[in-house]
Amino acid sequence: MLTFMTKQDFHKPTTVEDAVTLLKEAGEDARPISGGATLVALMNARLVQPSRLVSLSAIEELTQCTHQPDGSVRIGAMRRHRQTAFESDLKAAHQVVSGAASQIANPPVRNMGTIGGSISFADPAADYPPSLVAANAEIEIAGPEGRRCIPAEDFFLGWYETALEPGEIVTAVILPPVPASSIGQYEKLCRIAGDFALASIAMTIDFDASNTVSTLRLAVGGCGGGPVRVEAAEDALIGTKLETDAIAAAAELLVAELDPVDDVRGSAEYRLKVVPRLLQRAFNNLINIREPAQ
């Protein structure tokens, strides 16, 4: 029985400005709806009953992914996970984001869910948050006061909380330009295919001519309220050739900052044990990307 749906006030504006106005009018119980992968499930379970739904699906600018002249890539908030997974504009280090997208849940969810919706929900074990932190992405937000951009690192505040103010929506994710030699890698550990991550590691990395790590950004998912980035761990690896000892030392610094909880997927203790191995595995798999089998 979907009787409660009939009372819903449903809107489908064609501009971001109209969407923001419609949300503001209806107050704090109004919800924007993008792919509906999460919100519809929550509504079906009667966990959430929005007073108004503002669909973002007819806003053209949100559905575009554009490669900017400066080498940055702007992914509209309504881009489906499947589109991002196969996005030809995402090259080199940007592939940390397409890699994450390709590992989200299952095909029906990837056909439905959007990047804007996923990051606004901000599940602590979701795949996009660590990948966007590793990619040093900016989140573009629109609200009653206009638009603003904030770094992904400042967007995820932990345990489903984001920097979005009431009435604001995510309009795009902007990935900064990256060198063609850089690599993006997303490594996920989950109990069964399609599950949320027990733990995940996202990284963007580049090497100099002597095969020494020149730049590195690392973020861990599923082991805290949001993605965890530890600069000291990155510094411990920059300037190395990724020797096993260096990776182990970095893993120790990383693990010290994690804040996992026990849940149905695994205990906090298990997660802390698994992250160093996952880190090692992520670096091992880099070899396959750098030296593909002939």
């Binding site: 932990g158 345990w159 489903y160 909380e161 309220g225 909880v261 849940d263």
Partner: protein, 153 residues
Amino acid sequence: MQIEQSFTVNAPRSRVWTLIRDPEQMITCVPGCDSIEETGPDTYKAAVVVSVGPIKARFSMTIKVIEETVMEYVRTESKGEEGSRASVVQAISDMRLTDTPEGGTEIHYSSTVEISGRLGRYGSGMMKKIATKLAAKFEDSFRTMAETQEEVC
């Protein structure tokens, strides 16, 4: 779920006690609480909103002081329901005050909380993290209130 924490404020114990037993002052420090009324001797009714992600639960709480030693200790029993929904929260909370050598007050509190219904769907591990985050907000507001309004009272 068990929560236990202590914090210190730079204010004498008498002032801290006065604030703790003044519901109007206390609600300004409790995150998500916007109204309170006294319904009987040592019994209060409060409205508290708890948001976890997209789920926003509005609890109507009954708080009863079941034991107290003036200036030292207070134990309360809280029960909350969320309208017609099946969300229920119950808690027994203790708060104990001690002097610090610097002339301030240490507030030690512990709470046994049970949550069922919509918010009970989140694992207890995560709820504890969220509760700790809310507790930190309370501590900050309470400390600011206790330390800055002293001259006014």
